[in-house]
Symmetry: C2
Subunit: 350 residues, 2 copies
Amino acid sequence: MNQPIRISVDAMGGDFGPEVTIAGCALILERYPSLRFLLHGDSGAIDGELAKFEALKAVSSVHHTDVVVRMDDKPSQALRHGRRRSSMWLALESVRHGDADFAVSAGNTGALMAMAKFCLKTMANVERPAIAAIWPTVRGESVVLDLGATIGAEAGQLVDFAVMGAAMAKAVLGLENPTVGLLNIGVEEVKGLDEIKTAASLIRDSGLDIDFRGFVEGDDIGKGTVDVVVTEGFSGNIALKTAEGTAKQISSYLRAAMSRSLLTRIGGFLARGAFDELKARLDPRRSNGGVFLGLNGIVMKSHGGTDAEGFAASMDIGLDVVRYSLLEHIARDLEKFRNTRPVAAAVTQE
Amino acid sequence: MNQPIRISVDAMGGDFGPEVTIAGCALILERYPSLRFLLHGDSGAIDGELAKFEALKAVSSVHHTDVVVRMDDKPSQALRHGRRRSSMWLALESVRHGDADFAVSAGNTGALMAMAKFCLKTMANVERPAIAAIWPTVRGESVVLDLGATIGAEAGQLVDFAVMGAAMAKAVLGLENPTVGLLNIGVEEVKGLDEIKTAASLIRDSGLDIDFRGFVEGDDIGKGTVDVVVTEGFSGNIALKTAEGTAKQISSYLRAAMSRSLLTRIGGFLARGAFDELKARLDPRRSNGGVFLGLNGIVMKSHGGTDAEGFAASMDIGLDVVRYSLLEHIARDLEKFRNTRPVAAAVTQE
């Protein structure tokens, strides 16, 4: 793209507000000096932080609002208080009006998704949006979706997610032909999971250019068995949080074990390079950035507790998504998919 | 209990059959010399292994059958070929006839659950059984259920699981008043999860002696936020497998990082005591043993790939369950719960 990419920032979102978000913008600008920023929020607080970053200040416009969506607002509260006037809403609106290429917020996920659906609306041919993220694996990185936007997706929605996830793997992981799997369980004879089985047939029959590998189980996510893991939002969110919990648990075991004796402490000191490497690989900032897919506009969700580095990392993913023209790719594939399932399409058009 | 506990063993189950199962029985007998064993399977193979363990041979009866449920049999195949004559079925039947206090198998989970339901039937007041397991946490150990027996449980079934899980935490973890949480997600405003919300109200209003702590998320499992985590089998299985995958993934990162340079290798050597400790804490054999709850009889499921130590560990859990009279406790609590929900009870009695 020759046009500079414009990022619309909810400067007030997250646990630390402008202190982190503005510093994050300064970081990403160092990497990509042609960027432009629209900063939404309290202009006093934003200007105070901007004063530290001359280069950022020169390529930013500040859009003042007093209204902030709180981290503990329920989506309905956020919509009531914050629609059309909060920094979160205004960040989204800049995307809707075509003034920015994507929006980024470290604000609360439920509120952001509710506002994003309201402000940007779901794409044609998409029933419900999804939250996708980059998941570090033994093999490298995979895309996992949905992580909590939809609960109990139907077969057609799972196919939408497969299409969106594959496009994201191409955009962000740079894969030409990503492999895709549907998350399932292998314990009991499959029952009550008709939507997953149906989704598998739909993908196979779709004629879409998807390298579909069938069902995968929970342990396949960390193994990196497929590049894209597709599931509905409840089990996706459980998987994500359980993996986070397990990683913390093992780190805590390891810390306790290493401080057990003088010998283990000396060993730990000598091997500290290895522990730094482990820490870096498990660093949530590296993969910080859920992407809201299926909306008429790109929205990046950064962790609420992130620091400037993590906030910059989520913008970095957003840049990949914009450069790849992710939404156009998804729209084209979903159109193609819809044309291969006349019955479902007819139902949608009713 | 003054009566010796009698264990009914599917000697042919698991990836290694009698080689592992018989050695496992010998191990647990060393710990509890008053045990008795009913060994089901190919008598030639069993006798060959028994010859190595004089003490075990003296307290075992061998019950011959040629029929074995294979590890890759679907539940329906297993029922067709193996009902009334496979080593798996006969192990369960000994429990039904009161000849043994619990059954243990390392055979395939789906087949074992299907046969167990058919042979032992679900308890009065229980609609569907659950698979529970001991999950190592930062705080110690928790009980998690269901891990894959039921998919998409309704509110009343989740309450059943809470009752069964609390009883198991008392029996196996030795807790007087275990805390209980319902697994949920916190991302989107709760919707489509009416059964979980309803289950929470039912537990609160039940008058049961349950220390209910409301909703927990995936990362709370590893933290050990509650002693008993209740969920339906699909997300439970996803959580279990995802945690296993994450643990393997981190071990693999750690191994790679430690072998990176001479210094890290020396450090790793000095700290090897710490790594052994970490390995021991993550050892799946320690918590090896899903328990099938909600049936008229206790069935222990050991991992298919387990060794003798792991097979013994699952019997050890079975012994705790029997000593505590787990089924009587569950039956009493479920009876009490049913009496506090006249509407649900009426529906059940129709």
